[in-house]
Symmetry: C2
Subunit: 324 residues, 2 copies
């Protein structure tokens, strides 16, 4: 088993904090953020020392109707530039592209013409070959790339080993451990992180982690993975993200000891932008229905529907999940 890296008092220069509020949070409101919201979050992230800000998805306009979603579902170059200009900050920008749901050969400019720095390629474990095709193409265009293997709690050890072996042979820069269903405990997450890190070291890759808060463990799992050497850590303002949401950025910035990270700007943003968003009815965050799907290693869609219907019949719902 790997040793822990550093300790709770030291700072690690290799840490990269990734704000995924617009991208994962966009799943809660179909990406209908105002420009003001996104611009203020961008400024906040720059002031807070956040290393990467994810603007949304590069979704296929053939598969998704642009009238059904806010523009951050598609992240056109001009949409991002209308917020960041040339992005003269030290913060890097990223977008996510889902295997099978993006027109990547058409929708990505060469890196020299784009303000996007990193493209995060999201896939399920059986889609690794398709992800690698995208990764090599985007690498050729000049982007940093990551491979975010979703729903890893449903993959077998053999699949995970095979996927990691393929990835370390590729040009991908970062391999992400993604607990989409929020089903892991710190002990699981830490062990799996150690596996990712062992492969990554052989292939000279970085490892990232993206957690969901179904069991109220997103922050705990994230810092557990970090303690073994995971360096890319996803978080969102107030944990905004699909279902139970993600690791809370405010907890993460409070935890990190590097003085480049600053909590005040984020608190101001939360007060002025996140609280009104929540008050407007956009829903996310830890609740019992998400605990259940997390416990059962299931997709949160049933829990999201339960939430939307304002149901509280937990016993019925839990029984129903066990019958499925």
């Amino acid at each position: 088993m790997a040793e822990r890296k550093g300790n709770l008092m030291t700072m690690r220069e290799d840490i990269r904090v990734v704000d995924a509020t617009i991208r994962d949070g966009g799943l809660c409101n179909d990406f209908h953020f105002t420009d003001e919201f996104v611009r203020e979050l961008y400024k906040t992230n720059v002031q807070s020392g956040v290393d990467y800000m994810e603007f949304g998805y590069k979704a296929s306009k053939r598969l998704f109707d642009v009238n059904d979603y806010g523009k951050w579902k598609f992240c056109d170059e001009e949409s991002i530039r209308s917020i960041v200009g040339e992005n003269v900050s030290d913060m890097k920008l990223c977008v996510m592209a889902d295997v099978g749901r993006t027109d990547f050969r058409q929708d990505f400019l060469p890196k020299k013409d784009s303000v996007i720095d990193l493209v995060r390629v999201a896939c399920y474990i059986h889609q690794i070959p398709a992800a690698l095709e995208m990764i090599e193409y985007l690498h050729e265009l000049g982007y940093e790339t990551s491979c975010n293997i979703m729903a890893i709690s449903q993959a077998s050890t053999e699949q995970i080993d095979a996927a990691l072996e393929m990835l370390i042979q590729s040009n991908v820069d970062i391999i992400y451990l993604v607990d989409s269903f929020g089903t892991m405990y710190p002990e699981n997450a830490g062990k799996l992180a150690q596996k990712y890190l062992a492969y990554a070291e052989k292939g000279n890759k970085k490892v990232g982690v993206h957690c969901h808060n179904n069991q109220a463990l997103a922050f705990a799992n994230t810092i557990e993975c970090m303690s073994y050497g995971v360096s890319y850590v996803d978080a969102t303002a107030m944990g905004m993200g699909r279902g139970a949401g993600n690791c809370q950025m405010e907890n993460m910035l409070g935890f990190l000891k590097n003085p480049k990270y600053n909590l005040y700007s984020l608190l101001r943003f939360i007060e002025h932008y996140m609280l009104p968003l929540k008050a407007s009815g956009v829903q996310w965050g830890y609740d019992l229905q998400y605990l259940f799907t997390g416990l059962l290693n299931q997709h949160p869609r049933a829990a999201i529907a339960f939430t939307k219907e304002h149901r509280t019949d937990y016993v019925n719902f839990y029984k129903q999940l066990l019958e499925d």
Copy 2:
């Protein structure tokens, strides 16, 4: 460093789940629970396989006016018996007594005349001698006893070592690690638990853990401590407890693999009793103001006041805490 005990798939016969809803939760509503609420919780705990239920405090009626609090602040024998009768269940009953705030020589019956099984003696680290006086007295009366050293995050290593050495020489049964301010990370909590366990093994004692959820880590810290051998674990329904609250019982029962633990009764109780309690305005649970006092290793009282005033000026509040 100690090895972890068991793994995530096994069950440990030594685990004892302690429901502290009425006692720690009572700090949120001055112990004004209805008899129906307490009786239904009792039944729920019995059905759920909970090992101990804490009914409240044995507070001094000379120091506290009985008209200011619900009866669970005082836990008279007849109050408890009106709920449990002779307590013919397998579940044990406990109460808490704070050093310096209890008339222990007057208010405890001999164990043979009481339905109480365990008395949890709560103290700050400088009160260990006073706690030991109570523990020996209560042990003589025939009770199981625990020593719950509060606010351990503000004690020095030397103090902790001295306290643990004194406790293992005593007749106490269980030594509790209490993160009153919710300031610990799993890494801290796990290391401290290992220290407690090393002493406890020498003295043939058990170790318990009681966490607060300021940094959204109460459940994570609890299971981290368990993994090293802590066997008494405190939890409350929906995490009800002072300030940010405690480890959520629903998460704990979902986590435990022993088939004696059952989630359904608790879910029914939450639906029918906890949700209305929360809707009535009783406040607890993770929120930013508690994150701050947790981060700063401070008592939550300022955050509790901030919550009561429905304030959301996080920046001002955080600055204020840093000035104190």
